[in-house]
């Protein structure tokens, strides 16, 4: 008897994913009804590409959340990477008088490598404090958020670096496949596919869930929790770094104040998609669904011509309602 119920019922995780997919489709139908322009090819492609950066950063965060850890430093790291890549590749003697006009004049490829190494360093600091010094992940990543954003602020004097950049600098952000389907979208698709394989098919993925579900048990069963978390924090900083470089290329500038609040936006979309903030439960699929539910909502509100203030209020309400519904659905299933 028991066996039959187990077979006919999908797992809680799949159940949440299917329900959230339903919500996404519902939102799209509503969007099409109130704002007929929603399914215009350019608008639709815009919705897809607008969330690409958020999803790329979100992969690292989702993996960490599954293990029960946070990374609040990603927004800072995006700005840090953007300002660094600009500083590294600005010509050393651009002949301009302003201080921010001169950089190090490096080859762009070398600049990318060095920027990513610097981002990995931030990830290493996070991992060191969490693994070796047993500091709560929220606190230390709050610290590295301030440090990485702070370095970006100092290196750009609170503003931006956009003088004397080589022509190649703006290429990454302009690569386009079809219309607005651009490099970030390609990177997103590749990384999401990779992440799904890691999550579902590899030992590395299974360990993440085990650590999140019960850290003590994971330790006792011989899992090197420290190494696993270190790899995940490095990945998270690396993804944020890649995003920072692409965003800098798109703006053709390294901007110190960019990506403010990204860490919270990512948290919201992962939880909206059904990943548990207390660990052991979640998926990259949830991340993608959550990101697009919010993306479709924003786009619809925009098409309806609502001012951004009302949008903030509506988003707050939708998030609360979504989380409450998930909880209700799960508890009804269990009864």
């Amino acid at each position: 008897m028991n066996k039959v119920t187990v077979k006919t019922k999908v797992s809680n995780s799949t159940f949440i994913n299917i329900s959230m997919l339903g919500v996404l489709l519902l939102f799209m139908i509503v969007a099409a009804l109130i704002a007929p322009r929603f399914f215009d090819i350019t608008n639709f492609a815009n919705v897809i590409s607008q969330q690409a950066n958020l999803i790329v950063v979100g992969i690292g965060i989702t993996f960490l959340l599954i293990t029960g850890n946070f990374d609040l430093s990603v927004g800072g790291v995006i700005a840090f990477a953007g300002v660094l890549i600009a500083y590294f590749s600005q010509s050393a003697d651009s002949g301009s008088d302003i201080v921010l006009g001169n950089g190090l004049g490096m080859n762009y490829g070398l600049a990318i490598v060095l920027t990513l190494v610097a981002c990995l360093l931030i990830g290493a600091i996070n991992a060191f404090f969490i693994v070796k010094m047993k500091v709560a992940s929220v606190i230390i990543t709050l610290g590295t958020m301030a440090v990485s954003r702070g370095i970006a602020m100092v290196a750009a004097k609170g503003a931006l670096r956009n003088v004397g950049l080589p022509d190649v600098f703006k290429e990454l952000g302009r690569i386009s496949i079809v219309g607005p389907i651009n490099l970030p979208v390609i990177i997103m698709v590749v990384l999401v596919a990779l992440a799904l394989v890691i999550e579902k098919k590899t030992l590395f993925g299974k360990r993440m869930y085990l650590i999140g579900a019960n850290k003590e048990a994971a330790l006792l069963s011989g899992i090197d929790v420290g190494r696993q978390l270190t790899v995940l924090y490095l990945l998270s900083s690396l993804f944020a770094g890649i995003t920072g470089i692409i965003m800098a290329s798109k703006f053709n500038a390294g901007i110190a104040a960019t990506a403010q609040g990204t860490e919270f936006e990512v948290l919201v979309v992962t939880v909206l998609g059904g990943t548990s903030i207390s660990g052991g439960f979640g998926s990259v699929i949830s991340l993608v669904l959550g990101a697009y539910i919010l993306g479709v909502l924003s786009n619809t509100l925009n098409l309806m011509g609502l001012p951004p203030d009302i949008q903030t209020v509506v988003k707050g309400i939708v998030i609360i309602v979504a989380v409450i519904l998930q909880r209700l659905a799960l508890s009804r299933r269990e009864n």
Binding site: F129, M133, K134, V135, A136, V138, I139, I140, L142, G143, T144, M145, A146, V147, S148, R149, G150, I151, M153, V154, A156, K157, G158, A256, F264, L267, V268, V271, I277, S278, P308, D309, I310, Q311, T312, V313, V314, K315, G316, I317, I319, I320, V323, I324, R327
Partner: protein
Amino acid sequence: MKLKSLSWNKIIKDLFIFAVLILIILIFTLLSAKFLRVQNITNLLRNSAPIIFVSSSLTLLMISGHVDLSVGGILSLSACTYAVLLQRGVPYLWAILAVLAMGCLMGLINGFLVVKLKIVPVISTLATMNFFWGLARLMVPAKKDLIKEGLPKDIDNFARQDFLFGIPLSFYVAIIGVIILVILQRKTILGKYAAAIGGNSTSASLSGINVALTVQSLYVIVAFFSAVAGLTRASYMKAGDPKAGIGMELDAIVAVLLGGTSFFGGSGSVLKTVVAAFVLICLTVGMSVIGTEPYWQTLIKGIVLIVALIINHQLTEKVKD
């Protein structure tokens, strides 16, 4: 012998944040003679009230293992509501009472989401932060940044004008608030329950503590104090500014953690949070006094937080040994 050294380390840990404050004051005094001038100290105390209100009340909540990210949103919405009410000619007393009542209501909403609907505090208060902040923005007339026109001229009496020794009333109210919170934490059942819930929520519940009621009350207390901070900001700026509370949640949490309260709850001290808040204020004011460009502030604050974590860790390890 062992016992003795153990208590020594505990004393060092207890005095750590006080030492940091004195050290920072010393450094800035050495760097600039202006730092200890009366005018600068008055300015420093005048600016300190909002963060004291928010961080000291947040300490109680965080001792219970919960967090409130919506404090900045509550602050902004309270400041804007206050300004709108005064603009419409509502007398001070009623405007203040209305804002405080609304603050309590916002705390009830947060508590309801966390306690009754069991949504993780980080998410529920993140959502209400957006919600409150958006409402505050909606109060501002179109194409304006502030609610400024038609406010009574004496609105700044509370947070800007001299009340006693050149310092405005808001600072003294903040001190009274801190005293009340210290008593709440140390002498009342609410403080003991908060620590018990933060230590282990399940065993607290099993030993007969009404966890739901306690946590709900703590959220209302935090929201009430954040609303007072909102009144203070509105009075200081002579305007209702929806951006008044931006970043407050971060500053307040940093102050609470710097003061040694554990992020997972169970232990902490309101008094040490206030000292830590002064560390942050002295850093901000001190850096502007010695002429550091404002863009250095984020980096310096981050470094201070990380260094404090390292030292705190070393001290804790020693206490454990």
